[in-house]
Amino acid sequence: MHRVFNIIFIFTLVAFPALAVEEDYPFEDPQQAKVFSQLVNELRCPKCQNQNIADSNAMVAIDLKNKTYQLVKEGQSKEQVVDFMVQRYGQFVHYDPPLNWLTIWLWLIPLSLIAALVLFVIKRGQREQKDETQVSVDKLAQAKALLQQIEEEGEKK
């Protein structure tokens, strides 16, 4: 019995904010419900900056949610709704910005950094290997000389 309560208690700790939003916006078509849920989670509230419109209760987020619901109900695709919002609120309103000459650097800079680091590590590895073999030849000669010395001393005794 105790265990059952514990399990129930643990489940109450988990919040489902996205699901809570969808309850207010009923759909007959499960596909549309899916599109709507993706959209409200991907569209950014223009007022509160770091919330999607599903989480935000700002006035403009309420209006954007209602508009999204209306457009999806009318049968518009996800891309059409995103375009509609971007047209009015700019790229800022979408959490998934397109690849263009400005955003390409977000990908190019880390990739080129990784490439430069890999190159650096490989080059240094090669140099170290060279150094190591050189040193071991010298040390080998030294070691041989030492060994010989010890042997000679042993013979003398």
């Binding site: 900056q49 403009v60 209006d63 954007l64 508009k67 009015r88 700019g90």
Partner: protein, 191 residues
């Protein structure tokens, strides 16, 4: 030559990062340009706030330089800018209001138009009435088309109805002189 280059790499990298971070220090994340700037004002067909039998469309905004002010009686900042706006209208600037309901209130409990009209009348008689007329944006569709994120917001239209300037938040003397007045002088010279 190679050695010089190696010394320069960290210095240049440091410089770039410093400039980037320094700029970030003074950039305002809320200062996002309205997507409608330099575009024609969207089409609409809405009723007058005080006289719902009268309706307006985009053609009613054309013909002269016009300041569109999105506002509501529930909005404190709008109250602050009303006296200055009134002075502007006395100087001959045509100001047209777009009345923007409190969306949360409208969705959860609905708004009473009669009550809104009374509030508007009272507020405008107290603080000054800069508006030629007020368009009632009943479902806030026009505001959404304009990319409005809250009230107050203002849009300056040229005579052809193209949005030439936008302000999020109140307009005061400083903002007006810096961002709007030069544009209006320019538009009037050009036209």
């Amino acid at each position: 030559m190679m050695k010089n280059f190696k010394v320069l790499v960290p210095i240049i990298t440091f410089l770039f990062i410093s400039i980037f971070l320094y700029k970030g220090l003074y950039s305002d994340p809320t200062d996002i340009e309205n997507a409608n700037l330099q575009r024609p004002f969207p089409e609409f067909k809405l009723n007058d706030l005080m006289n719902p039998d009268k309706s307006y469309n985009k053609a009613d905004l054309l013909g002269e330089v016009t300041l569109i002010n999105v506002w509501g009686t529930w909005c404190v900042t709008c109250r602050v800018e009303l006296p200055f706006m009134t002075r502007l209208s006395e100087q001959g600037i045509r100001i047209i209001g777009v009345y923007y309901d409190n969306a949360a209130e409208a969705v959860f409990s609905g708004v009473d138009l009669i009550q809104t009209q009374q509030d508007v009348k009272q507020m405008l008689s107290q603080l000054g009435n800069p508006f030629r007329f007020n368009i009632y944006d009943v479902n806030r569709d026009l505001s959404l088309d304009l990319g409005v994120t809250g009230a107050p917001e203002s849009f300056l239209l040229d005579a052809n109805g193209v949005i030439v300037a936008h302000r999020r938040g109140a307009i005061d003397e400083r903002v007006w002189e810096k961002e709007f007045a030069p544009l209006i002088r320019q538009l009037k010279q050009g036209g």
